[in-house]
């Protein structure tokens, strides 16, 4: 670094541990200027370090977590409602299409099967719930 010209930017980088510099060489043309800048930088640091951040701010972290949970639940509900409506629409559409193609007899047959068999499906479900 001794052969290359040192700039104020290099001094700043060195000050903040971003760049290694050999000690400023008195043979540099701008040695006085750089040395003065380096001193000013140190003084500036001391002045800026006066800033404190001990202001009182009330943050309820648990409250924020609860709020986030509430938002996530609402989003989940919206998603589930949308999926339900979309699925119901698709099923009804397919059902209508098949009925239109095969005739109303198909519709009546399916309805009979559902009304007769569906109550029986509740028995194993009730048993599972009791277990």
């Amino acid at each position: 670094m001794t052969n290359k010209k040192i700039t104020k930017e290099d001094i700043i980088d060195n000050f903040y541990d971003e760049k290694k510099l050999n000690n400023l060489n008195e043979s540099l043309d701008n040695y006085e200027e750089l040395n003065l800048f380096k001193e000013k930088l140190g003084k500036t640091k001391n002045i800026m370090d006066m800033i404190n951040d001990d202001k009182k701010i009330n943050i309820d972290i648990l409250g924020i977590i609860s709020k986030a949970e509430s938002i996530q639940n609402k989003q989940k509900e919206k998603k589930e409602t949308f999926l339900f409506i979309a699925t119901a629409f698709i099923i009804l559409f397919c059902f209508s299409l098949i009925t239109f193609t095969l005739g109303s007899n198909f519709f009546i047959t399916v309805q009979l099967i559902i009304f007769v068999l569906l109550p029986f499906s509740l028995i194993p479900m009730a048993k599972l719930t009791l277990k």
């Binding site: 930017e9 930088l41 003084k43 500036t44 701010i57 972290i61």
Partner: protein
């Protein structure tokens, strides 16, 4: 408890771990936002929004960087969006407890303190962010580059310009000379 373990637990839905994680990082994020905004009222809103966003997106956090760095990134973005919505922000007068021997010394110190805060707030948002992250928190250029999402050269340039501006303002205000 190791932060990585806390993060894993929080991502799995453990509220206690999430609370501990946020509480541990609260002083850092609070200090950063206060320095950025210099307004406790705005800082409170920014911090709350930051924490809320962090909780909502905790599963997206990848442990490539520190959790505090992630929080600072969120806070930086939220504050940037706030500035875009509100073109002007007022600086609320700071009150500082003094331990000076005379009222005159306390007044001078208070004026100097206010002047220093004003100087930081005069910096454009982009430069102020870089300066605060570098000077007060010791982030490296590449880390700052990730946080503010700009090239390292730009970060370096912003820091240099900020330092020169601050030094110039301190000299004009007669504060640097007095030290």
């Amino acid at each position: 408890m190791d932060e990585l373990i806390l993060i894993k637990k929080a991502q799995n839905g453990n509220k206690s771990a999430l609370n501990t994680l946020l509480t541990n990082n609260y002083p850092l994020i609070k200090g950063y936002v206060i320095k950025m905004t210099s307004n406790p009222s705005i800082a409170e809103d920014i911090i709350q929004d930051t924490m809320l966003k962090a909780v909502l997106n905790i599963k997206k956090f990848q442990a490539k960087a520190k959790f505090s760095t992630w929080l600072i990134t969120i806070a930086t973005n939220i504050y940037r969006d706030y500035l875009r919505k509100h073109k002007t922000t007022e600086l609320i007068e700071e009150t500082q407890q003094s331990s000076y021997s005379s009222p005159e010394d306390a007044t001078i110190a208070k004026l100097e303190y206010k002047e220093i805060v004003n100087i930081i707030m005069k910096l454009p948002y982009e430069k102020r962010t870089v300066f605060i992250l570098k000077h007060y928190y010791g982030y490296k250029y590449d880390e700052i580059s990730e946080i503010v999402n700009c090239p390292i050269g730009t970060v370096r340039s912003r820091l240099h310009n900020s330092i020169k501006f601050i030094m110039n303002e301190l000299e004009k205000g007669g504060i640097l000379i007095d030290q």
